[in-house]
């Protein structure tokens, strides 16, 4: 079948199984837009900024586990995507980013709207391509989709010169791709699994740290089976939340900079740490050199480069958690570490204050997110970055994978609205709540228009503290209350919502919280709730930047810096 490059691109997307494309047009992608009406199976969502389209693709992928796709024009379109691409890279989200570029003969000539998108984006993706012939499109798309979704997933970028969209070529969809420089790890090495099992069998205080890899690898059942067999507490990284139901007896929540006291102390005093599908990042592990030096560390990850990068492993197993966990479960003895579990329980019971939800009368973020969680227990939750993000992670109950969607690695403010939009597009008929910072919301609020266009009923809760709260907290604690550029005057968020044709609600006191949440839930369309929360609440506990998890502090009096 001979087709134009533009038709081939759209055919390829259909073969890959893409039904939604978040995009923004421009000169060089016009040949592609021109052909979209002929491919109604693909729904194009016109976003209001390419960053929004990129985060939407990311949110779509995280909510559904399917490939998220965003499209942009050359030059400024491509550069506007960069933040979203790096965000997907840091959090290993299976995404495909397509950009147009100037026509082949103009490449390298600094013509109108030429940016070296291939060069700019190269370090921010798992792989990228500049496609120079329409003949190469089909294979490139097949390869790109394969790379994005297998192994450690991640973003892949395809740059296509304008005239390649217009060139005709024979279209044949490759049934298979074969890439000799790309191996997808599967089962773990048996000998290493035996070594790990022997260490686990000998352990008195073993601990599991389960990360995003469990969710990406769809290994949540395998995780629970393993944890139950050895009877050890399970901690989550921020992105691992939901990999074990929060109400499971062995689930002990999040560790890290704003992890619970008991999680951080347990991680610091365990004798064997079993890290599963996480990259041992500094926000989770604290100062590397002082992370529990006594513990033996078993590290299972599909990406060999994560082993011994930050924390030395006693046994490092390269493999897919979906396959390695059953191997480990079969190899270990059934255990129960009742005494150790009791010890962690006691820690938890004795250190409830730092994470307790303030009872009022001031309106706290903790109270609001707790109520959203209780009134919409099934909801998918998307957050921005900052204090509200950490409170959502601490207080909301995540009982299933894909339930929390948050920017972990890059910490991208402005993620909250577009990612929620993408999640909602992937989950029609399901509830999506976006917990927004008043700062982050204003970075990408233009997507309110897209929400309305697309009738995506996202419920947005702005935690309006009038501050770049997390930065203000650091200035208060570590820069002697010297507030510099953290206080913001705000627009009237309710009027703003209304200007976009979206229902707006305002809550100023604790008594009205439940009614507003219910009203938002009952409304069929998108809703924005402006929660005017206390201005200067702080997130506790906290591991100061550069400190070890063992140095977790619970109150402001303990801050020494």
């Amino acid at each position: 079948m001979r087709l134009s490059g533009a038709d081939i691109v759209l055919e390829c997307l259909k073969r890959i199984g893409v039904d939604t494309l978040f995009g923004y047009p421009g000169g060089v992608v016009l040949p592609l837009y021109d052909r979209m009406p002929a491919h109604p199976e693909i729904h194009h969502v016109l976003v209001r900024h390419e960053q929004g389209g990129g985060h939407a693709a990311d949110g779509y992928a995280r909510a559904s586990g399917r490939l998220g796709v965003a499209l942009a024009t050359s030059g400024p379109g491509a550069t506007n995507l960069v933040t979203a691409i790096q965000n997907a890279m840091m959090d290993s989200v299976p995404t495909l980013f397509i950009t147009g570029n100037v026509a082949r003969e103009l490449l390298g000539k600094d013509g109108f709207q030429e940016a070296d998108a291939t060069g700019i984006i190269m370090p921010a993706v798992k792989h990228n391509y500049l496609v120079m012939r329409a003949d190469d499109l089909a294979y490139t798309f097949a390869e790109a989709a394969h790379i994005a979704q297998t192994g450690r997933p991640g973003p892949v970028h395809i740059d296509i010169p304008k005239d390649v969209f217009l060139e005709e070529a024979e279209f044949t969809w490759p049934e298979e791709v074969s890439i000799r420089g790309y191996d997808v790890p599967g089962a773990g090495d048996d000998e290493l699994v035996r070594d790990a099992a022997a260490i686990i069998d000998d352990a008195e205080r073993p601990l599991i740290i389960a990360g995003h890899g469990i969710i990406l690898g769809r290994a949540w059942d395998e995780l629970v089976a393993f944890a139950e067999k050895i009877g050890t507490p399970v901690l989550n990284t921020l992105l691992g939340l939901g990999s074990i139901p929060a109400d499971h007896a062995l689930s002990y929540g999040m560790l890290g900079m704003h992890g619970s006291y008991e999680a951080n102390i347990a991680a610091s005093t365990a004798d064997v740490v079993i890290a599963l599908g996480n990259r041992m990042d500094d926000r989770a592990m604290g100062r590397f050199a002082d992370f529990n030096r006594e513990a033996k560390v078993i590290h299972v990850d599909i990406d060999a480069s994560e082993h011994n990068k930050n924390i030395p492993a006693t046994v490092a197993i390269v493999g897919d958690v979906k396959q390695v966990l059953p191997q480990l479960t079969a190899a270990v003895q059934t255990g129960a570490h009742a005494e150790w579990v009791r010890e962690v329980d006691t820690l938890r019971d004795e250190h409830t204050d730092s994470m307790a939800v303030p009872s009022g009368p001031e309106l706290s973020v903790q109270h609001i997110v707790t109520r959203i969680s209780e009134l919409s227990p099934e909801a998918t939750v998307v957050t921005g970055v900052g204090q509200h993000q950490m409170w959502a992670a601490q207080q909301m109950t995540f009982t299933r994978p894909h339930q929390l969607i948050t920017s972990g690695g890059l910490g991208t403010m402005g993620f909250e609205v577009p990612a929620a939009m993408g999640a909602q597009a992937a989950l029609p008929g399901q509830r999506v709540w976006s917990i927004c910072g008043d700062g982050g919301f204003q970075m990408t609020l233009h997507e309110l228009a897209t929400l309305l266009d697309e009738q995506l009923p996202v419920k947005m809760a702005i935690m309006n503290n009038g501050f770049l709260g997390m930065v203000r907290q650091w200035q208060e604690l570590f820069y002697a209350d010297n507030y510099v550029s953290v206080s913001m005057s705000q627009p009237d968020f309710v009027k703003l919502a209304e200007a976009y044709g979206i229902k707006g609600l305002r809550v100023t006191d604790i008594e009205s919280v439940d009614a507003a949440i219910k009203e938002a839930n009952d409304h069929p369309g998108p809703v924005l709730v402006d929660f005017q929360v206390e201005a200067e609440g702080n997130v506790w506990p906290m591991v100061p930047a550069g400190a070890s998890l063992a140095e977790t502090i619970e109150t402001p009096d303990e801050v020494t810096a």
Partner: protein
């Protein structure tokens, strides 16, 4: 400690950028980098001399392996290898002191490959230590210009760092015919 890492890579546009960018971004120190074609069509060989402890070099290998265009990575350090580097040196040299320079050339088993009344070009293929010694000995005469290729290495005996996994014919044709291995007419070629 210096390690000799060999990366067999797909000969595609951008592959050198990917490797160079990785070293820069991760803060790995490259002492030298030599790139060239191999016995296998479509595969180039990069010989990279990296300075760092075993942990760093292990990271280098893992990070290189993550690049899709890198097919195989081997650390030849500690293996029984042949290691060579080629140097061209232009030395200031007239009739009066030519004998002295030629003596040095002979001792180092180097070759004179160009001669003018005031200068000559010396070529030598050797291991780095010997090259360094040669340069030191020639310095007093005046080294006008020097170019070194960087280290290349090969294990002795049967063992190789080569890629044995050939691309299926169809792919081979695809990659060779396709714009992914352009013949040099476009601005993004690797050659």
């Amino acid at each position: 400690m210096k390690h000799t890492v060999v990366a067999m890579v797909e000969d595609r546009p951008g592959v050198l950028t990917r490797v160079a960018s990785l070293f820069r971004r991760r803060g790995f120190n490259i002492d030298s980098l030599a790139v060239g074609t191999t016995e296998e069509q479509g595969i180039s060989r990069m010989t990279i001399v990296v300075d760092g402890d075993d942990g760093i070099v292990q990271q280098v290998e893992h990070q290189l392996n993550k690049l899709i265009d890198v097919v195989k990575v081997s650390d030849l350090t500690g293996e029984d290898t042949v290691t060579r580097e080629l140097v061209l040196l232009k030395v200031r040299c007239g009739a009066i002191n030519r004998r002295g320079v030629l003596d040095i050339v002979e001792i180092f088993r180097a070759q004179v490959i160009d001669l003018s009344p005031t200068s000559l070009i010396i070529q030598v293929v050797a291991e780095e230590d010997r090259l360094d010694a040669l340069v030191e000995n020639l310095r007093p005469y005046g080294v006008m210009e020097m170019v070194r290729t960087g280290r290349v290495a090969m294990t002795r005996g049967e063992q190789t760092a080569a890629v044995h996994e050939e691309e299926p014919d169809e792919l081979q044709r695809f990659h060779t015919e396709s714009g992914r291995r352009p013949e040099g007419e476009l601005p993004f070629t690797s050659k």
